[in-house]
Amino acid sequence: MAYPSAAQSSPPRQPSVKVILTSADVHRVVDRIAHQILEKTQGAADTVLLGIPTRGTPLARRLADRISAFEGISVPVGVLDITLYRDDLRRNATRAVGPTQLPSGGIDGMRVVLVDDVLFSGRTVRAALDALGDLGRPASVQLAVLVDRGHRQLPIRADYVGKNIPTALAESVKVTLAETDGADEVRLYGEGHNS
């Protein structure tokens, strides 16, 4: 039977891909944020880094490693799973719940730095703030992100930003890290990319 092939009826649009940060750039950016945390927190005393899965977790570990390499300070690192605090649970299929691991000292009275890969709508950070409230009472909360792509839907801003990327809403930003994906890179995909 002669169905017109998909290629004939609508030629596939090749979505554009742009590398925003290379592996070397990611390393430099992490180094800079580690320095900024040390500077802004006057030596990172009473500070806890909490990574938001999936890619905030290795980023938080890297920041702690760099801080330790620069100043010999060991900053506690934890993982904050926000699945059960999301505001879009009912819109999607059930999401798997991941582990939340707080440093043994807890977060009460500490300065908590939340770490995530991309800051977009701000809803993830909103969920993380709610989750923190149920886990303890930090003295203050800050936010570190590798990429800020704009389009906030909530009044949230980052204290430490690796790179600001002006994007269109239809574009998507994809961060890969060696620990989770095999290699460090940040890419900007044009309209029509699904992932």
Partner: protein, 304 residues
């Protein structure tokens, strides 16, 4: 994810493992100062109990409340059921009230399956007659896994009134899925004739004990026994009751489980029930975490 949880056979190994893994995260929440999660805010869970129950009803209620769901408790006593309302009409009433999940316990085997056809929400079987009790099997599997570190390859002896036990049936199905080896032990009159393939039967408790990693004692269900299945309670306790000397014949690491409520002195002696090998209190604690996991996985997303 499945829509209803009616039978231990509804779960494949991946889904069962996902429930146990999620339960482990829920258990961490139970250890916090704020034992509450917002995941099921705005959802309604109805506990529909046609049979007496303490731990299962309270456990489901605690689980739903910790996930911020609204809970409506319905027990047949003091309801329109005593005026003759049928299960279907009760179900339609719950439907009209917008129940997202119905947790049902019923004396008739199969009642939750019928209910699942009548309501739009998820149905969770909390024990139907002598048929199944899948969340009990899940919490038993969770308890075994957390105490012994694994399920695959474990030897589990299920001892006592297997015939009337929905706990035993669900456990046999779920443990087979998860790779444990089940041996049913009891007097021949209390062992059903239709045994799942791959399940062993033994009428001698003492022969099974030295090779068991888990001994699960079942309650002798006198309320379901219209006929006499064994000569006397004392004889039953002598042959199939777990006492101190029998417990000491178990391997060093073996655990003793009981779904409760216990008949102390009948199937289990106080010495065993209160020993460090007994996981009876742990099972109750784990029950809340496992039911939180089940409710979250059934209701948390848009699975319709």
């Amino acid at each position: 994810m499945i829509r209803h949880l009616l039978s231990g056979a509804d779960l494949d190994a991946d889904t069962a493992t996902q429930i146990l893994d999620t339960a482990a995260e829920m258990a961490a929440v139970s250890g916090r100062e704020v034992k509450k999660l917002p995941a099921l805010r705005g959802r309604t869970v109805v506990n529909l109990f046609y049979e007496d129950s303490t731990r299962t009803r309270i456990s489901f209620e605690a689980a739903a409340k910790r996930l911020s769901a609204d809970v409506i408790n319905f027990s047949a006593k003091g309801s329109s059921v005593t005026k003759g309302e049928s299960l279907k009409d009760t179900a339609l009433t719950l439907q009209a009230m917008g129940a997202d999940a119905v947790v049902v316990r019923h004396p008739a085997s199969g009642a939750p399956h019928r209910l699942a056809d009548w309501v739009d929400g998820s149905v969770v079987n909390a024990g139907d007659g002598t048929h199944e009790h899948p969340t009990q099997a899940l919490l038993d599997a969770y308890t075994m896994r957390s105490r012994l570190g694994r399920l695959a390859g474990l030897s589990v002896a299920v001892v006592g009134d297997v015939l009337h036990s929905r706990v035993a049936r669900s456990n046999v199905l779920l443990l087979a899925t998860l790779g444990a080896k089940v041996t049913l032990v009891g007097p021949p009159t209390l062992i059903p004739v239709d045994i799942a393939p791959g399940t062993d039967v033994c009428y001698d408790l003492d022969a099974v004990l030295p090779s068991s990693d888990v001994v699960m004692m079942l309650r002798v269900q006198r309320e379901r026994m219209n006929d006499s299945y064994f000569p006397s309670a004392r004889e039953y306790a002598r042959r199939y009751g777990l006492d101190g000397p029998r417990m000491r014949r178990l391997p060093e690491h073996a655990i003793v489980m009981h779904p409760g409520p216990m008949n102390r002195g009948m199937e289990i002696t106080p010495e065993v029930a209160d020993s460090s090998r007994s996981t009876i209190v742990e099972q109750v604690t784990n029950g809340v975490s496992v039911r939180m996991a089940v409710l979250y996985l059934l209701l948390g997303g848009n699975n319709r």
